[in-house]
Symmetry: C2
Subunit: 383 residues, 2 copies
């Protein structure tokens, strides 16, 4: 029986500060060191999310620590041991500081000089290119793009297309003090991503406010972050981004999947209500039709309950992810977790969600991946 | 067969500006006139929510216009014609301006002098007392309370207890530039509402940002307002408000009900995860247990889909509402809408959601209401 091509549509990577320093102009080293001191306090606070005892166990599980977060050889070995043959990589592993100047998944969480945000994203994206190229055909990079200056963002996006394989664009979930995504200022970004066939990604990370220094504050972040990550879809659909850019792909990553059918149903209901008919403007499709045509969910740690909703979400729109190497993800227990979620799911549907859809969206070649699949992929009977 | 005691847990009322003027000190009339000019433009923009043709039909349906929004005699007649024998009243009907100085359901949507907000709420609450007293035993008032100054808020709440029958307290869904509801500054409000047995209400209204002057902007408000209205529950549960105040009642009004089971399940899941165990702090119950013990939903226009979830929400926690006289509500077609939602629901459950729960929470006496019920209440067979 053919093993399953398991592709993670949600992994994270980032090197230690010394490596990031090599990927930025030396003129920025001073600013980076100053920023790091504060960011490390912030990181420790975010790590306060996780119970100490739990984290000790998690870190002990990787005998060499978490160097798979940046070391391609170790990374490939750990992914294979977990049954995974390809991945797309978002920023921010759990090592010190994250992307320089906060330009990763938490972009716009704090006020910072936009020039530094840009420099941080550039350093990460240069490093990301090298990480992806170290494992040809098996790793794609989702590149963070700052949105302070739209002309610059468009240039950066073009650079991503030229340099990073199996690429996508990561826009911040929260726009901070900048306009929300219905604003026409973002139009060149949508046009460029559509023309260059680069999917836009919104990943949980920014948006929530500072909850202050309460012991329970991290759980407020956990509760609210997905909610803020859903927001851009509202603006994209109702302001007509998908109407104007019918070939743009839009991917919502690590923010659950169970919310999708209810929200689409509610929006379709608003679309259909006579009292709101004049607000539909130039939308030729209903919200659920735009979803089906252009959107996908990077369904990290897909739960059995979410999987049960797959026909209402759309099997073709779901891409499984392990969230490697994050502690809330399925690694290093992916096989057990897959069994919990996919037991009883028809094999064709499981194959689509576990790798087929991601191969199509990110351009991974099943032929290239076949030897690895035969070596490490889960057997259908294991699901 | 006994007719059903139908009580609306979500109605709205407010008089025209000339009447509000009578309920505020004359020293404020100048400021009120100045504010009204801007507010009327804002109201017209909000009315841009509704299709012109739809609104013409809606307004024509009430032969005397919408004077039931403030005239108790007409109001009682319209409610009875719709099958309803009692109601609780939130601010903001659809007449000019709403509560003076924006102190109604949209409180904190715009920056304004806190003294004016307070004056507006006081004018409304004085008027609300008279409106409620005009129909003894059949109308309760949910009084808006500004939260800029906590000592003042506590005094206002005590005044509500003394003056308004079947009362509750309305806090703004959005806190604007003030701290979110997990902040200890609000502690005296929770303690006072618990001690005085005044349920706290969060009603959809404030929270969303200004979406700008796009034709589709009102639909962004419609999509996001419920989402902002849900937020305070997050802060209440996780910061331990219900742990510290076990007799406090908390009511979430006109923000849907379908989101409740999924959210509680998700929060229970977070509560149970080992990696987050240190964040649970002093919570002795799981989130769903606090909900069952202390929270209710003012389930305006309860849909068939939401009603199907009633056992997961908790039948005892659901209170139907008509949203009278708002155009998105069930009035004047409540009987048809009740049939759509409650057809096939066991009669005892329907009676609880349609009136029994509200009578218990707001202290309406079924004996007092009985003659009206026998005159106008829907028959069980009509459901």
């Amino acid at each position: 029986m053919d093993r399953i091509m398991l592709i993670s549509a949600d992994c994270h990577a980032g090197p230690p500060p010394a490596t990031y320093r090599e990927y930025m102009p030396s003129s920025l080293h001073g600013a980076y060191d100053a920023w790091l001191a504060g960011a490390e306090a912030q990181r420790r606070r975010r790590m306060g999310l996780f119970d100490d005892e739990f984290m000790q166990g998690f870190e002990a599980a990787g005998a060499e620590g978490l160097s798979g977060a940046w070391d391609p050889g170790r990374r490939d070995a750990e992914l294979e041991a977990d049954g995974t043959v390809a991945e797309v990589v978002f920023p921010d592993s759990i090592v010190a500081g994250g992307v320089p100047f906060g330009a990763g998944i938490g972009m716009n969480s704090r006020e910072i000089d936009p020039q530094l945000t840009l420099a941080g994203a550039r350093a990460h994206n240069r490093w990301l290119k090298d990480l992806c190229e170290a494992s040809p055909g098996r790793r794609g990079g989702i590149a963070p793009i700052p949105i302070d200056d739209i002309d610059v963002a468009v240039e950066e996006i073009a650079g991503v297309r030229r340099s990073i394989p199996h690429a996508g664009v990561l826009l911040p979930a929260g726009t901070g003090s900048l306009p929300l995504y219905h604003d026409p200022r973002y139009e060149p970004i949508w046009a460029t991503c559509e023309a260059l066939e680069l999917p836009v990604h919104i990943h949980t990370g920014s948006g929530p406010p500072d909850y202050g220094d309460f012991p329970f504050a991290p759980i407020l972040y956990v509760c609210e972050a997905p909610w803020f990550a859903h927001r851009p879809l509202t603006f994209a659909i109702w302001s007509g981004i998908f109407e104007r850019h019918p070939r743009l792909r839009w991917i919502m990553t690590e923010q659950g999947a169970g919310w999708i059918p209810g929200l689409l149903r509610q929006w379709d209901g608003l679309f259909d209500r006579p009292m709101f008919r004049h607000l539909r403007g130039a939308l030729s499709l209903r919200p659920s039709e735009y979803w089906a045509r252009q959107c996908l969910v990077g369904a990290s740690m897909l739960s059995p309950e979410e999987c049960a909703l797959r026909h209402r979400i759309g099997v073709e729109t779901i891409m499984w992810g392990s969230d490697y190497p994050h502690p809330e993800g399925t690694w290093p227990h992916t096989r057990e977790r897959l069994h919990e979620t996919f037991d009883g799911v028809p094999e064709g549907e499981a194959r689509a969600m576990l790798g087929g859809n991601a191969a199509r969206v990110y351009g991974f070649d099943p032929g290239t991946l076949a030897p690895a699949v035969e070596r490490v992929g889960p057997l259908p009977a294991e699901l």
